[in-house]
Every structure is written in C-alpha cells, then in structure tokens.
Subunit: 353 residues, 4 copies
C-alpha cells in the first residue's frame, strides 16, 4: 500500500482564496494529510518548518509574493518538497536560486499554474505535440479580470488587494506577476515553443495603484512564431477570462477557462471539432482526461488544481519528475515579469527572455 | 469545535461512478470520515450496519436500485441517518415506508438529486419564489444522455449498464427512474409547483433493453401550469444534457447543467440578465452561492454534490431540516416513475401523481 | 437571357411583418418585379387578380389565414403560380383542394416554411438522407416565442395580434397553426420520416385569448421513431426560439434558428463536428450552401426566405419541381393542426395524421 | 414622393465578393437602380463615368485597392457622390486629397466599413456615448481570418488573393489595409476616442506573400486609454472572427461579428445584460435597431451593409451628413496603415497617427 503523504502549509489563512483551494485539492483525491500550518503573518513559519522537518513530505506556500522565496528556500533546505504559489519569487535571481537548491538537493519544487492542470489544456498540448495543428504561427491569449473594479476605493483595501498593489510585497509588477504569468506559462506549455523576446505596454488604472493593473504584450518565439497577450485587473465585468487561441498552419485551437470542459479545434478545411473532457473516445489515447468523473459532469478549477497535486504527489513518492510545472516554469515566468516591466519602462523596447 | 462526523458506505466499489462522487464530495469540504464500507455485492451489508451502529452518524447508500430500500431501512432502524441514491426504492409504497420510518425515528433521510445542489439552481428557485418570473405557465426540461449509444452490444454489458437494463434490479423503469427523476425533481424544486398529473410515452430503443430508454412526458401542475419533459439514454452524442427552461408571465429562466455557472433570466421587455455563480452582487442577498471559490473559477458536479452533503451534514449535526432533498422528494419521484410507466402502458392516459 | 419574372402581392401592407420579407427576399436575388399589389383589406383582391392575369407569373399571398384559401384558389385558377403563407388554409379539406387545383392546372404552389430554406437545415436533411445519423429514433423540437408577453393588454390589440387570436380569422388554432406548423414541417423535412399520430396538450394563457397559445405535442413516426414538439407564444423572453435536436443511433444533430449558420453533429464516439455555412469544404459536396457570401459573413432570415424564392422562381421558369415546400407540406401541416386541436379537445388521445 | 436614385458600379464583376454585396444591399431596401457598370479591368471606367455623369447619383467603387483613388477622384470631380471600398487609397495623401475634393465639391464620400452598420455596434457606440461604460480604459479587438490557409499554393492564385498579396495593387500592407482597418475603425467608432499612437509587429506567414498577413498592434488613445488589435489572414479555421471587447471603469461590452444580433454588457456589480437586435425595448430609445424585421429573425452581413447604404442614400438625397463612415474615417484608417507599416519596419517604435 502507498505511503500516506503528510504536508504543512504556510499562508492560506482567513481571507485567503488560494489556501483553501490547496487544501480542497489535496483532499479531493485524498492525497495527503495536513499536519501543521502557519496561517497568519503573526505566526513564525521558521518555527513551523523546524517542527515538521523530517515528518512532512512537502510544504505548501500560499503567502504573499515577497515571502515565497525565503519560505520555499527554508523548506527545501530542510529537506522537504515544496508546492509554491506563483510568482515563485520577486526576482529572476531568487527563482534561479530556488531551482538550483531544489536540483542540488534532489527536491521537488512545483508551481501551481492551475490551468496547466486542466484536462483540455493537456489535450491541447498533446494535439500540438502530435502535429495536429501543423507549425504554430500565432498565439493569442487573454487573461482578463475585473477584480479591481469590484473594490470600493472609498474604504480601506482588504488584505488581499492591499498586498497585491504594494510593491514591497507584490514585487515589481502586479497584474503581470499575478496573472500574466499564467497566460505566459500557458503559451509555452501548450505550444512547446520558447519565447525569445517580448514588448510590453503596462498601465495603472485603479485609483492609487502604483503597480501595473493592465498590460498588452507582444511576443516572439524562437523559430518565428508570434504571440499577443492581454491581461488586466481592471477589465470590468470579467471574472476570470482566460481565453487561449493557437493558430497553426494546419489547424487552430480555442480554449476558454470559464468553460473548461470543451476544446475546439478548427481546420482550414473541414468542420470544427469540439472535444469534451471525459468523453469515451479520449480514454484510449489519453487516459488522464477521463479519470475522475464522466463527460458531461463538469469538473472545474479545484479539479484542475488537484490534477497538479496528483502529479506532484506522485513525484514526491516516486522521486522522479511527473507532469507538473516546476522550477523551470517558475524561472521563465519571472523572466517574463522582469522583461515586461523593463520593456514598458523603456516605452516599448523588445527585451529578451 | 464541531463534532467530527463519521459515515459508512454501502455500494460504490470498483466500477461505480457515484460511489467515488460521494466520497469526493464529503472530502471536499472535510465533512466526515469514512469509517467503514461494504463495496461489493459479495460482502454483507447487514453485518456492516451492525458494525457501525452507534458509531457512524450516517450511511451512504450507493448500490443498484433494488437494494436501496432494505439498506436504507436497516440503517434508519439502526438509528443512523441516511444519504440514499435515487430512486429511493422500487415502489411508491417502499419510499413512503422509508419516509415514515425516518420521520418516526427522527432520522435524516437525504436523496442526492445532484442538480438541486447547483448554486444557480438554488438561485433559480429563489428568483421564482421572489416572484421575479411572475406566475409560472410553462416548464420545459430535457435530460438527454447518449450513454446507451456508447455501448458495444456485441460484447457482454458492463456491470453498471447490465443492472440498469435489468427489471429485477432497476425496477419498473430504466430511464425515467434513473434520470427522469432528476428532471421531475428540478421542475418541482425550482417552480415550487406540485405536479397533478402526467402523460408519458416510453420507448425502448437500445438492443435487448426490456425497459424504457427514452421518454416524452407531458405534465400538468396544480393551478394550471404545464410542463414537458424529454429524457433519454439513447440521445447519441449527449453527455449529460440537462436543460431547464421555465416561463413565467413576467420573465423566464434558462439553466444548462453542462455550463452550470450561468443562469439566464429573460424578460418580456428589457435585456436578458446572466447571473454568474459567485459574483459579488450575489453575496449579500444570497450567501450560499458565493461560498467556496470566486466567480469565474468553475465549480461543477462534485461541488454541487458537496453542497447537498453540506446541508445534510448540517442537519445531521443540528437535528433539524436543512436545504436538501429528502423523503418527500424521494416519494414524489417514485410517484412520477409509477405514473409514467402506467400512463405509457395505457397508451397515453393522464395519471395523477 | 432569362425571362424576367413578374409578380403581384395580396396582403403585406402597413403593419405586416411578412409582406416586406417577401418583397426583400425577391429583391435580394433580383428574382422578379412586383407589378401590382392589394395591400389593404379595403381593396379588392379579386379585381387585382383580374388585372394581373396573363401578366404576372405568380401571386404572393400574405394575408391573415382565413383568406389564404380563396385568394390562392383564385390565383391558381387564373393560371398563375402561387406563393402562399402558412397555414395554407383553415381546414385540411381546403388545403387538399388547393393542392388538387394546382396539380390539375400544372401550377406551382409554394408555402414559405422559412426554415427549410436555411442552408444548415438543408445540410441537416442531406446528412440524414446520407445516413450520417443512422436510424432516427427521437426528434425534439422547440419553437418558443414570447410575442404575446410583449402585448399591453390594457390597450386594444394591434391588427396582427388581433387576427391571430380571432378564431374567425386565424382558424381553429393560434400557436399550432401559426408557428407549430414550422416545427412540424422541420421535423418531417429533416428526418424524411412521416408522422403517423400525435397527442397534444394545448393551453390558452394570454388574457382573453380564445385560441391556443401554448402547446406540448408528442409524435410518433411511421417505423417507430418518436418526437416531442413544444411551441408557445407565451414563452416570455424568447424572440424566435426554434431549436431542433435529432437523434439517430449513430449520431445526432442540433440546429438553432437564432444562430442559423452553425450545425452541430454529435457522435456516440468522436468529437462533435460543427459545420459552418459557406465553408469551403461544403462547396464541393453541397454547392447550395456556399452560394451568396462566404462563411463568417452571417446570412439570416431574409436570406433563408430568399432561398425558398430562388427555388420557387426556378420552378416557375422551368415548370418542374425544385426544392421548396409545396401543397404536400401545406396539407400535412393542416392535418397536424387539426389533429392537435382534436387530440387536445379529447384530453389527450392519439390522433392519426 | 422620393426621387428614385441611380448608381453605377466600377469593379465587382466575376469572382468579386464585395461587388454583389453592394448590389444586394442596395436592392434589399430598394434604394437605387443600377444603371451602368464597368465590371472588368478590360473595360474603361473613365468612359463609364463620362456616360453616367449627370445621370447617376452615385458611383460604387469595388475595384482592387490601387484604383480606388483615381476612380473615386474622377467620380467626385464629375459631380457624383461616391461609395468607395476600403482602404480608401494607397496613401494617406491620396485619402486626404479625396476628402478635400469631396468637401470642396459638396459631394458625399462613404466608405463601407461594414461593421459600423451593424445595429448592435451602433447600440454599443450609443451606450458608450451615454456613459453606460464609464471612462473607457482598454479596448481589445480581434479580426482573425484564415482565408490564406484555404489556398492551395501549389496552384496559381485566384484573382482576389493574387492582388491582395501584390504590393503594386494592394499597397504597402495586406492584412492591415484589408481588414485591420475595420478593427481600427470599430475601435474609434464605438469608443469615440482618438488614437494617438500605435506600435505594430507585422509578419508574413503565407508562402510567397511579400506583404503582411498577420499583425499584433498596441494602441494608445488620447486621454490615456489603451488598446490591442490582433488581425490575421493566416488564422486557420477562422472565417471572419471580429471580436470586440471594450472595458470602461463602470462596465464593459462584448460583440462578436459572427453572432451579430447580441451585445453583452458586463458590470462590476450586477448581472450581465444581453441586448438583442430588434427587441421591443430598444425601439423607443433607438429606432434604427428595430427597423427591418423583429428580434429573433437574424439579420447579418448584407443587412449591416445595407444600413450603411440607407444612411448614405439619405445623405445623397438630403445633401447633408448622415450616420455613415466617410472621408474622415477613410483618412484615419490610412494613417493607421502607414503607421503600422512604419512601426513594424522600425522593429517596434510608437508612431503617431
């Protein structure tokens, strides 16, 4: 019988959105027991790491951005695997260091870029890899939220929005670091292409926000393909509008996070094909998509999150890589953030990634 | 601190769809610990009930239809609450008896009519109750599955489809008892109306099926409103097509299970309104819809199921009713099944419910 | 060069919806010149028929239901072809007589069942005929309008609604005769099946309406397939909700009139296919769909109407049948109306068609 | 009674997509008689202009880009009004000259930016103008076609694609000049904002194409709002994917050309509103949207085109401006084209418009 995993959590206390998601995701598939937690900034996470050292298999880091690096570092150095929220750190250098520490220590480091866990995103990646789309030429990704439009700015900000708009805690970027990194990671994850350079135009629209809350970004991949990313926190009325369009010279695909169970593939000639998660025809060729419940019984965000945890926990057990985003993706996302900020500051200059 | 609940399960073993759903739903919100189970027909569920008596707070019944009644009865009589899969029994009489036993023993009896746990279905019900639609005149519900079209009939049936097509185990009806009851329950749950009589035309299209696998049903509510239900297991290409349209004299509403996070309300004059689960504007007036994760982060089938378990577990703790379908709904659904079978057998005669 | 056609119109004056549609449809493809018209009930259509006899190629009849029969009859007997609005007459007998007159006189008689002119409906019919769906088992059609909910009943009815609710002018049925016939015709047109019997439940919900404004109808086709039709004029918030679902044992199809350019075909195994009007891949196998403007440039109601006129005008020139609904469809639709009214009056009895 | 208009056409002969659209649009509403035409490049359009001078009210110019300027100029100078296809010319200077000639001669000059004629685009513009969206911050427009992916490049190009890829006939740009101008015009038309500068990344992906067939463009409006435009002819599987998202600080709107009858308005708080063309509630406040046929009876591309012709023909009669795009829009679109080409050539530099 499988050894039962144990984990501890830093962050994710009262008012947190993502902490409970981690815990629900772990419970959904009964992957591990939560044995300790440091849920408040008043508590001492170093003490907790000492407590669980040798007992916990992994630590989940759900704090604001500025403490990802020290906590992840301490946990890795204490010999535990780490599931660390994005962005992995405040700087590329820190992210690279975490990657190095994990690599040298033989530790697993995962970053829950949630949408890479969505079954239809995995199918998208697989279809591209099999050549179903032909050569990729253009990628268009939107990640539009209206969260900053739901704020009543006449009152003090709630904790979550306060730290997201605070350069000291959020780092050099707000929207690019918070959700733009999802768009960027999706682009590279699905296409399998490597971004060469980007050009960004960042804006701050929300009252009093010193960081970016809207971004339009041009991208160039190695090999000549192009991309466009728009991402925003001032996109009034959008809840979580992740929309991915990828155009190859043979076919294109479209996926929308708010209707995650469908993947549309469109051809130069021939009718569109709509793949449905869990459909029987997927089972043979691609078992992972069909696993939890049948087609037509919607799975969503928590399930996608749990898919990342499944792979991560398998790696924690096996001590070898599985299909989840890790240090490599975390580092690349930080390069994306730094390049976007620098490009925009220079008023539109292509920056290498 | 809340007493931690304990439960045991009968059925839901290898090959079961719904057993794992129960377990995931319970774990998602960390509602109870599974302390025992009788997952195979080779095991003795009576012995298990003896074992857990006095320890388990409730028993989840996930077996084929023919054993719902004896297991639920035994568990109730052993002083435990029961979450029993639909249809509650094979006959109206059995269902009524279970209701009586539960009532007299002060036991909770819940039937997981999953879709009544969907937040937007609850919003639909609330909008109707508040008069937003005016007087309800017409309800049109589809519950279309193509599951029997995915079967290779040249091979022996798998266990699940085998018992569903077997009158001895499934009861007098296949499609009406299995999924038609969801459509019926949704109709009454959302409209708040009581069905007076129905007229059904049942068919058997799948090779070798001795029970109904397709049904078209006319309904009349007390007070004069009308309804139409179509339900099928031979609706090729449909995964789980539950579509609900309810027309009042002031507005109408539309909900589709495969896109569960949206509820559309249409008016005689004025633009359509689309409500989104978890949207901030819902929070004040209707907290339950906004609870788990924010708008735009899709919740689905397991979450809806878990909503029913939340309410049921609250009732198990409080010893008073909460918002979940129970004996009343289970009995009415069985009347619907019996009336449909009888009406069709008489070649189209209105039967009272 | 082709002889240029000439036509005259009866009805379709001020306040008419459908009269202008006929004229726009004819002009869109430059099919004929309108040489005379009798647009008001104060004018004498018999005199107009005398005037245009020998000159007009055809007469378009756009009056209320009660005058379809005498006008069409007079025009046919005057040796002209006729495009007559649905329902063709007030009774089956009248419809049959018109068919006989047209047949004996070698005259073309067309009924503009608009949706049979929609390219994707023609594709649907062709796919069924080629066996793409396998054996048809179930057809589910909705034709839902909320037009009677837009009326301010505290004021006198406008002309159009007044005659539609008046048995003397509308005939024995309102909703079934007015739009139910479209649903019925679509069912037979696409499936190629013949309805054997129906069972109807008609209701009157609009204030003061003496005719049916809501109907739920069960149907049985020769050969064992079943169907369900719901149609209404009190479906608040619906504009013109024609939705067609046809289930074969191999595949199913879905078409929605308000998004007429898409046809979805769903399979027991394999992804859904969405066909788009005008797509290049359709051109080779099915030229008619690709004719007017390319895919992605929406055609709609007027274009579908014009497609019927194209075929009708081709028949007027060629003196041989083309692809448009005629006396046969007009007669069958009247049988549907009579059977629905009789079945409902008998409180739910299957009536042969 | 209104004077009946007369017009002549240059271009729009065999193989033309847009020539027939002009003629159908004019006929749909019976706006004018086509009295002469020069449909082939072998014919002499100067001779035709001489022939119709003094008789035709206007000339419709449907030729490839390189002859727009001389033909429009000649027609204006001959005292006729002009409906000239986009792009208005090959250079900004030519476009400005045409505007000057029209202005000095008191002539009407219209450019059929089709989508500005779509009722829901007009509603979008009106909602923005009334402040329904608050201050506009971000605009995201896609105009994606896969037309160049439908070409078999192993064969000689057909006439239309040949001239579009030929710099001598198409001008300095292919995709930006051909369809990017629609996206740009929509952005300014709906928002009422003026573009200050743009930054473009153009690519050529189609085999042998010397001009751009894919573009990603960043935009800055006067006053601080931002925009992003992506447009392509190599977007495999897209037919005519015009998608417009406009975000204000109070609400946002979404319109999709392939479903042109719906306009979605989303709010920071409160449910989404979906407006439908022709809906009764629009009639009072905005008559133009409700005119031709009722809600639910789809109008499409030809109808939108005809709306521009309606306004243009009214102006031709009244000798005063109506609601159609003219020289101003034509000139601005040419500035957009020139700036895009120059910005991309300089490898990403903001260029003023």
């Amino acid at each position: 019988m499988e050894k039962r995993l144990k984990y501890a959590m830093v962050g994710g206390g009262a008012g947190s959105f993502i902490g409970p998601v981690h815990r629900m995701a772990v419970r959904l598939d009964d992957l591990a027991d939560l044995i300790d937690g440091c849920y408040s900034s008043k508590d001492d996470w170093r003490a907790m790491i000492e407590r669980v050292k040798g007992e916990a298999d992994f630590v989940a880091v759900c704090t604001p951005n500025d403490s990802h690096y020290p906590i992840a570092k301490a946990a890795l150095e204490a010999g535990m695997d780490v599931m660390c929220e994005k962005p992995l750190s405040l700087t590329v250098a820190e992210a690279e260091e975490l990657g190095r520490i994990a690599g040298e220590g033989g530790r697993m480091l995962a970053i829950p870029f949630t949408y890479t866990g969505a079954p239809m995103v995995k199918l998208a990646r697989d279809l591209v890899a099999r050549g179903e789309l032909g050569a990729i030429c253009k990628t268009v990704i939107e990640y539009q939220q209206g969260s900053f439009r739901k704020i009543d700015f006449s009152k003090p900000l709630d904790k979550r929005n306060a730290w997201k708009m605070d350069p000291a805690r959020s780092g050099p970027s707000c929207v690019v670091a918070d959700i733009g990194v999802h768009a960027f990671t999706l682009a590279e994850y699905i296409t399998g292409l490597k971004t060469e350079s980007i050009l960004a135009d960042l804006s701050s629209f929300a009252p009093g926000n010193r960081l970016d809350d809207d971004a339009s970004i041009l991208m160039r991949f190695s090999g000549g393909a192009k991309a466009s990313i728009v991402t925003s926190k001032i996109a009034t009325g959008e809840d979580n509008g992740v929309r991915v369009r990828i155009y190859g010279d043979r076919a294109s695909l479209f996926w929308e996070q708010e209707s995650p169970e469908r993947l549309v593939v469109k051809y130069a000639t021939g009718p569109d094909r709509t793949y449905r998660r869990g459909a029987k025809y997927l089972a043979a060729e691609w078992p992972a998509a069909a696993a939890r419940i049948p087609a037509g019984h919607p799975e969503g965000f928590i399930e996608a999150f749990a898919n990342i945890y499944r792979e991560f926990c398998a790696a924690v057990r096996d001590r070898k890589p599985h299909d989840f985003p890790g240090a490599r993706e975390g580092v690349r996302a930080m390069r994306f953030v730094e390049a976007a900020v620098a490009s925009s500051a220079a008023d539109g200059v292509w920056r290498r990634i």
